[in-house]
Amino acid sequence: MSELRELYQEVILEHSKHPRNYRALDSANHKAEGFNPLCGDHFTIYADVKDGTIHDLSFQGTGCAISKASASMMTQSLKGKSAAEAEELFTRFHDLVTGQGESADAVGKLAVFAGVSEFPLRVKCATLAWHALRAALRGEQQAVSTE
């Protein structure tokens, strides 16, 4: 039971019920879908990126409490950050949920997802929105790199 409480922390439940930045973004110049065919989770991530900075970030879709809260908190964490910082935070977040992280301090509020590491089958839920965001951002980087 304590592991369940560790997984479904109040903050996570609150975000899953009242997700932040849950809307389409008119100003988005980047958009990607994240889909988990095994469980049907499906999110669209919208990003407004200017001069390498994520000015605005939002999402829409359906998913479990973990994937939805993760998407919600990701959008909060990354506003105003650079694409490179987003990649870096994803790496640290991934380490956290797979139990490889040195310390939870490195991810700020996202530390509430530490409990996911006890539930290996739920790692995909926690990282779905992040993978979608990475796809969105890399789409731009590829376009940039060809210049």
């Binding site: 439940l13 019920k17 049907g40 479990c64 973990i66 939805k68 739920r122």
Partner: protein
Amino acid sequence: MSTAAKTPRPVAAAPARTFDVEQVRRDFPILHQKVHGRPLVYLDNAATTQKPLAVIEAVEHYYRHDNSNIHRGVHALSERATEHYENVRIAAQRFLKAPHSKEIIFVRGTTEAINLVTQTYGRQHVGSGDDVLITAMEHHSNIVPWQMLCDEKGAKLRIAPINDQGELLLGEFERLLGPKTKFVAVSHLSNALGTINPVREIARMAHARNVPVLVDGAQAAPRMQVDVQELDCDFYAISGHKMYGPTGIGILFGKTELLEAMPPYQGGGDMIASVTFEKTVYNRLPYKFEAGTPNIADTIGLGAAIEYLEQVGLEEIERHEHDLLTYATRQVEAIRGVNIVGTAKEKAGVLSFTMEGIHPHDIGTILDREGVAVRTGHHCAQPVMQRFGIPATARASFGLYNTRAEVDALVAGIHKVVEVLG
């Protein structure tokens, strides 16, 4: 030594014993374990069933004593392996009430059985502008092979709709059966909804228009008595692992006259009568459809599963699972915020549900911590989920070894879900 190695297999079914679920449970070693400190409550039987000792031992016995290639050697082991393998064909014939044992084709499972039919009969008879008719409650394995065939041939896949209870609209089905319809494929028992389809009536409608019918029997075979002659279906497909047998083995039943007229499925050894570089003469039924060395060990395991089901008695199993489903439905539907998906009048084995504001994945994780194994997701039936406007469900599916106490554990687990996430 040779007598010790011989497993006599009765041709006639052993008499059914009195059904005692506790006795049945003793036959399944895997059930007696704890998961996360709780007794395992295995309610994912529609995904795969557990194996009785008789099946595990039959496979082991084969490898320890009889392993050899079949239909080839003149030596003792080959003779024994061949005999055991072919005895399973006779057991399967008896199990499905097929007229002839040569109508029993061993395949990898229901999926391969359906692909065999689409690739042989389908390619031969479905052409440009034709229709293939299926239902809105099919498993992906009874959708995608037909879709592939239709794409290849320029044919159209027609879908007979279902109502909000998850029942086939038979009138709509009949309306969709037209002069262009070349094939009908339906599930006997829906894996996502539990609906039992009126297969006999479907076959009657189709045959009135000379259209053959394939029945996906993967979920029905372990839950009800199947009689392919009474159903009058042309093909019937089942999977060993869903009926307490091994994975990697299944059966396609086909009517002789159709199988005779069909081209072979795969080419290779065993499916030939003679081969020259100029011409190959194909073997007779059923070997025409069994190219290469088959899955001998698991076929023998399937034979043990069939005998086990016959000993326990399909009628008893049907009654027992009906009792569990009724008991579970009554309790689960009474929990506030729970919605049962699939409420057909004719239903068996499967209890699919959603919970308001709670994703099935989270239900599954919490139930798992309570020792209760259910499936969460789309159950390889995405169109069914789309029909009900939901991304997924949680599904409890029953087997012959489940008990009312286990249903109570499921119900307690659902209350725990509400407690943690509600």
